[in-house]
Subunit: 389 residues, 4 copies
């Protein structure tokens, strides 16, 4: 094994859901180690979290600015290789910018940031600094999503015609943000979440999944946004008609008020020769339908899969993998890219297989166009190429 | 048993799919009998079909006009009680009108007809003639669809917020209409199908299912219609954003180019207190999700079901019922209404539980508004009350 | 159409479940007609049932003996072609014998009868009389069961190694027979059901399904029978190890005390090249697993199916068929055999595809050997060839 | 956080499947660290694996005997807290004995060992040394298996009546052991696997799962063992009738020749009041059936679960967990017990929730009785209480 990468975390204090997921994901393969953190804007909470995690107190920082400055000043064999950003959305930009400028690679939670301007600035900065920037659209880390992408690229579905992506959750069906629920609070607060509610939180995942699997580029969209819970400032349900370059059509539907639904992200793609169907809640399975023979059930871990899917799995078939493994694939591949960058070598194909800053910019643009469409009450243009994209 | 009802059929010649379904459905309970028919515009084919069905040759007619006239002239104890119309769409109006005017009840395949004007004329005629008119939106005949409706009415889902209805098929993914496929030919021909392709053929089923289960009334819609198969004149894929009176929102997506998909009609309804999910391909199951306790799987035939669902089933749980039984429920209930009409008695609630001419008018209106929206490229008003509705 | 066959029914009075199923199944295709009946040992109930069914009162008989005698005396163009026997088990033999001797064909509910001696006597009588005798092991009427059999015969599974058949129900989990439940009463009464409880009622279905799909012949078995409900005289749960001629092994497990389980008959067959899985509660689906490529999902109604499966279906794929259609296939095929017998022609292959009197004898033998094994507490021989088998 | 536990591994060299799983599982929570190992009997391979894992070369040992001796000689703040044994079965006993005697805790892969005598010796040794001994029957680490156990203990199923456990795999359907497949080689070799093939490898998992969920104690069994693949020395398929103390009955069926089946362990338990069903390939779901109301679908991560299930999960509902998390729960709980042992405190209930050496002895006894039953061709007694059990 090459040496264990070191990373620091911004955000992810006690009780934060996604920070813990990032830590599990990074720990899974034993090839990277958390050594620093600015876990909370509250200094005591940050210190407490560092202690819980067994960090050197010297490297548990009161602010992310301190962390960037001090880590940059450490000798190369001690300082972090990358920062993992798991704060609420509105801080992503500032933290990412600072660490990129300080010479670090970045793994950042989604959505990338809250405005298109910030997104594009990050695209340029990543390019200028020659940094590795991975955005944790973790659903693309699932092996069977990679298999889906491979089948599309191999032409097994023929010419793509229709995409249906649905991402439903029920956890925001009541006014949780008024009941002291931290996760709900910032996600429904425009100052911290940005202009999109469900749209930003899970709509960007749905958009990214479509883009990753199909390679289709948006051309136009028509969105209907709703806020069903009283006193909520952002959308908690969004339905969007999609038109893609080349003539394919689609429907994207996301909801956080689907009572009793857990985390049901599903994708259907219909081409002239076949159809595919994948559901995140049963991630090891990919269904392929054909015109003239029985449907096939592709399953993770089997020898008949494409290398991109086989390379993304840790267990034999029938030994379920889940959310953390998919998440860990983003970390592992980005770490591979960082190692190649460090060694001056050409990264393996697998090490380029993670969501980029440009993917993030596309997501932010998508959210803004959907909000614009809903405001205007009709179709809007949605074609977009981010800087470097 | 009260006497067996007698019926005649218009359409349903050799090789016609839906005519045979109607005959199976009507035969299932042994309480009605096919005694007359004008099965084809081709006299010889009509006669041949009559012979295959064991009909009296005297009552196999060359034209539906002959049939209406001769049956009306028979003594009451011989003549048909109702006509079953299973022709292509463009003939529904003329046949229905003629038989209504001749004093017969009508069971008609969907969609009701091809223009709103015709639809409204039929509404008025049914009212004037005090006739029973049942439209075979057969999916509402499934017991678990009736259970879904009952749960919504009982308020088990709370206030309705979102509806997602999807009806996907793959059989028209290639240009079947150019290959001598009769079913495909007329369904893709504007002169016989009307202005909607997939929209008219299966979109009306989807619209009707939403209306039946939720009771929600459309207020506005925005449709995106596509024709993916070359040289096809009508839509083969349609995606529609829906707004309902009172604030609920929805998505209706139908396709006949979803390769390998069979007949996948599914409905999800999300309310403030719970969610439901039903799929036509597993019709005996209805899933109910709750905010705070395990999801429940309601199954046809169990004692815990609502009377409207229990009354629509013929077998114990676990002994699968299917398409024909659901279809037969439309026939059986309409027959009950006819019998009550004949006897001058008040029909039982069950005998009023079938899709009406007004439901048909709503479907035709929906298709026309969706086509108008697609043409205009944006949202259109979609509120509508048919005559007598 | 050749003429409609006429049949009479013995048993199936008001409230009897299986009699009504038989009538629905016989009615479905409109090619046979119920014209006579001895529906109950209670003359008034029999007459009432005949009236409900619209029969000529002259042909509603007080006893099945009367019926056999009078029907045999009617002119050929009036009398029944066959009798349908839907009484409790203990009467099957006597009724079948009488009608066979009177020159009629027979459709008989399962199990064939209650003793091996009776079973063998019926085998001989059927042969002597050159009669058609169909036993309604209806589960073999499902198209996808026929497809399973075809795949096995084509060698798609290689050499068969293991069979797992499970038939679970929950309806007898409490002492229903003490609560006035007619179905439960006779099924748990040795005098009317025979020596097997669950074993006779559903174990024979399971045994027959294995035999039909795999063609394997039993060689030995070891059974463990239980009675979980107090005061019940017969087994309500049975688990049986199976050994087949040629080396295949199996497990047969049946239960009527599996609380909340409806009618869950499932079959798995594993061969050297592949595996199959079918579940009665989702009868339109058959799963085939391979060693080296994705599993396949065969679905009823598709063009890729074997003729024996395609010929057993009435609807396109995705339009669910169910229990009644499978049941109707037994009737339809047996009727085809009767018609061929009447016309002196060679029956089509399809018209020979129904469970025979020999299948019934095998079932009765199986039940008796399993009871013997349980009494002896170990393995017993189970090889058997019925007369004419 | 209390300090990170240190562990060493015996076995788990390059290419070994289960060693890697153990390492992932131990790494997941970041609270224990692999610091030593004797990964292979081949010294160079062991050293290479240590290097790949980034271990101090001083602590990569040529033999497990060296490792036990040297680690025991290290100062307490450096030496390992426990050993993880992931060798083929025949070495478990010797390695475990040595490390227990050297004062270490043990985590050992299943089955415990190859003879009942060894198993009982280990039971006594664990007791004498006051050591923590965890056996990785990892399937009991799944949250929904813990929920199943909780529901049984709460009496939600009433009195237990019937258990059906099936564990099917297809990977040994051909003679893989003759094709250089290491995993297959030792698992089919009596000298390394013990007297049971499929029975020892997966049958012990099935037996343990039944025991964990139901608490039922075996009383008698009747086994039928088969070897379908030519030249194989051990069973590759086993079907066992079970009788439990108190009257419950069961069927245990395991196979490694079920072509195309991956790792399909399923458990059904039927009680007088309800039934449960769990499948390892969809581990986040537990189905509960009731006599008189809709079946319920319990899902991991929801607030309505029992504490034992809630405490065993790391992610919100709908974010799939899998095999590694379940495995990690064994490690985490055992580590909790070790920490309590070290601190002289009473362990939390969760820290006692892992399979013990006694569970292991029960498994070994079960395998031997099943082999004895198969040899004898009939029922055998199977009641057993291990030392300390």
């Amino acid at each position: 094994m090459s040496r264990r990468l070191r990373y620091g975390m911004v955000g992810g204090g006690p009780g934060a859901f996604i920070g813990e997921v990032h830590r599990h994901a990074a720990a899974l393969d034993g090839d990277m180690q958390l050594v620093a953190g600015a876990f909370s804007a509250d200094e005591a909470r940050s210190a407490h979290q560092g202690e819980l995690l067994g960090l050197d107190p010297e490297r548990t920082y009161a602010t992310f600015q301190d962390m960037a400055a001090h880590e940059a000043a450490l000798p190369p064999e001690q300082r972090i290789d990358f920062v993992s950003i798991v704060t609420p959305n509105h801080l992503h930009y500032e933290v990412a910018r600072l660490f990129l400028e300080a010479g670090f690679h970045v793994v950042c939670d989604k959505p990338l940031c809250t405005t298109v301007e910030e997104a594009e600035a990050l695209c340029r900065l990543v390019e200028n600094r020659d940094a590795v920037f991975a955005l944790t659209h973790n659903y693309t880390g699932y092996p069977m999503v990679k298999q889906a992408r491979a089948l599309v690229r191999q032409g097994k579905l023929g010419e793509l015609r229709k995409v249906v992506v649905d991402y439903s959750q029920g956890w925001l069906a009541t006014r949780l943000e008024g009941a002291g629920h931290k996760q709900a609070e910032w996600r429904t607060d425009p100052a911290r979440a940005g202009v999109g509610g469900a749209l930003g939180d899970i709509g960007t995942h749905a958009e990214n999944l479509v883009s990753y699997v199909t390679g289709l580029e948006l051309e136009g969209l028509c969105a209907d946004l709703s806020t069903f819970v009283d006193e909520r400032a952002l959308d908690d349900d969004a339905n969007v008609l999609l038109r893609f370059r080349g003539g394919a059509r689609g429907v994207l539907s996301v909801s956080q008020i689907a009572v009793g639904v857990e985390n049901d992200l599903s994708l259907r793609v219909h081409g002239s020769e076949g159809s595919l169907h994948w559901r995140q809640e049963s991630p090891d399975t990919l269904r392929i339908r054909h015109a003239d023979r029985p449907a096939e059930v592709y399953r993770r871990g089997n020898p008949y899969l494409a290398p991109v899917a086989s390379g993304a799995t840790r267990l034999p078939p029938g030994h379920p993998e889940g959310f953390i493994e998919a998440f860990a694939n983003i970390y592992r591949n980005a770490a591979g890219a960082m190692a190649a960058r460090g060694a001056g070598t050409v990264p393996a194909p697998r090490d380029l297989d993670f969501p980029t800053v440009q993917d993030g910019a596309r997501g932010v643009f998508f959210v803004h166009r959907a909000v614009e469409s809903a405001r205007a009450g009709g179709w809007v243009e949605a074609g977009y190429t981010p800087p470097g994209g």
